[in-house]
Chain length 206, copies 2
């Protein structure tokens, strides 16, 4: 069985999103995996998502349903967790990480920003750091030396995955795939028996 | 069966976190629900999480495991999705929302900030808005008129939950529970048969 890997990340917002996912899929294939992009057509019967429903969903709900279907049909997830418009990863990507962890599937992540979460947060939140950091509203700042919120690092560790972190430089931070390929290599070593305890049977590809 | 509701939110970072969760639990009880806080002791045999393991987990992993155990034993989730140190909700909370949605359990959310996600993002991201907004790095800005990233609004809608949004004012934004109680009321109306298709049998409370 070839492992299907969901490619989570804010690449969906790039003007060259299709090209980015093509590069990611190609790296997956090089290591014997199938990369599944959130932008792929909805799985299932051709046309099943379009026209058959008398009251089609609003576009945002249709996108959500499509992503959820792709997630449920994948065996593992690789998330681009590079800080996105703030101190943490893209929330859509974090949602998908939690989703796949709940299903017991291995989750991997990478970030092209090396500064630890606590340092990024203290810098951004106008922190008045005492022995234990707090932000300007008095809320404490996690300081476990992790790459992001502990639920993110914790899920990756609990699933047997890996979180690869390193600086790619501002110009390349959305397009450098060195750490992504580290994730792919790690995912390719997942024992097949572990990968998808509950994945439903695949329809044959057409 | 009394519904168990996981209370997700960045209240864990407040100096008065225990008091906030006590207030939330009390509101749950008033509507016939059991509120479960991420700060509650780990479920299971007393002492099972402490001492029994010859190599105890690092604190961040122990917190992660505890939260995950609480999540799996709850029937529904109410998330405080008020924007947290940026344009979106707290990533730990978003993770937990994805987790519970994957398990097919109803998820509810509230935010004490009324401005739509696209507006908050455009303001924060130094957006050069054309007909379709993009940020200063050229990444597009979602504009579906939603309260947060479409995976968040989408999951709540798909689960049959509700997302309550309104302005509480800066001083009260972490402590006003008006919208939280709206979530509790909505959760209390969940048909019991729908609530927990896969929840494991509870050990008897001691």
């Amino acid at each position: 069985m070839v492992l299907r890997v969901y490619l989570a990340g804010p690449e969906v917002f790039l003007p060259d999103a299709d090209a980015m996912f093509a590069r990611k899929k190609s790296l997956c294939a090089r290591h014997g995996l199938i990369g599944v992009s959130p932008l792929d057509d909805p799985p299932g019967e051709p046309g099943a998502q379009r026209g058959a429903d008398p009251a089609p969903l609003p576009r945002w709900q249709a996108i959500y349903q499509c992503n959820e279907m792709h997630l449920r049909r994948c065996d593992a997830l690789i998330a681009n967790l590079t800080p996105f418009r703030g101190v943490s990863a893209d929330p859509g990507t974090v949602f998908e990480l939690g989703f796949m962890r709940a299903l017991g599937r291995p989750v991997f992540g990478y970030s092209t920003t090396a500064a630890p979460f606590s340092e990024r947060t203290s810098r951004a939140a106008g922190a008045a750091n005492g022995p234990r950091g707090v932000d300007h509203e008095g809320l404490s700042i996690e300081d476990f030396g992790l790459a992001d919120n502990l639920m993110i690092d914790g899920a990756i560790a609990a699933s047997g995955g890996r979180f690869f972190v390193g600086d790619a430089g501002a110009a390349d931070r959305w397009r450098d795939l060195t750490l992504f390929e580290d994730c792919v290599r790690a995912a390719a070593r997942i024992p097949r028996a572990r990968a998808a305890p509950t994945r439903p049977a695949d329809p044959e590809p057409r």
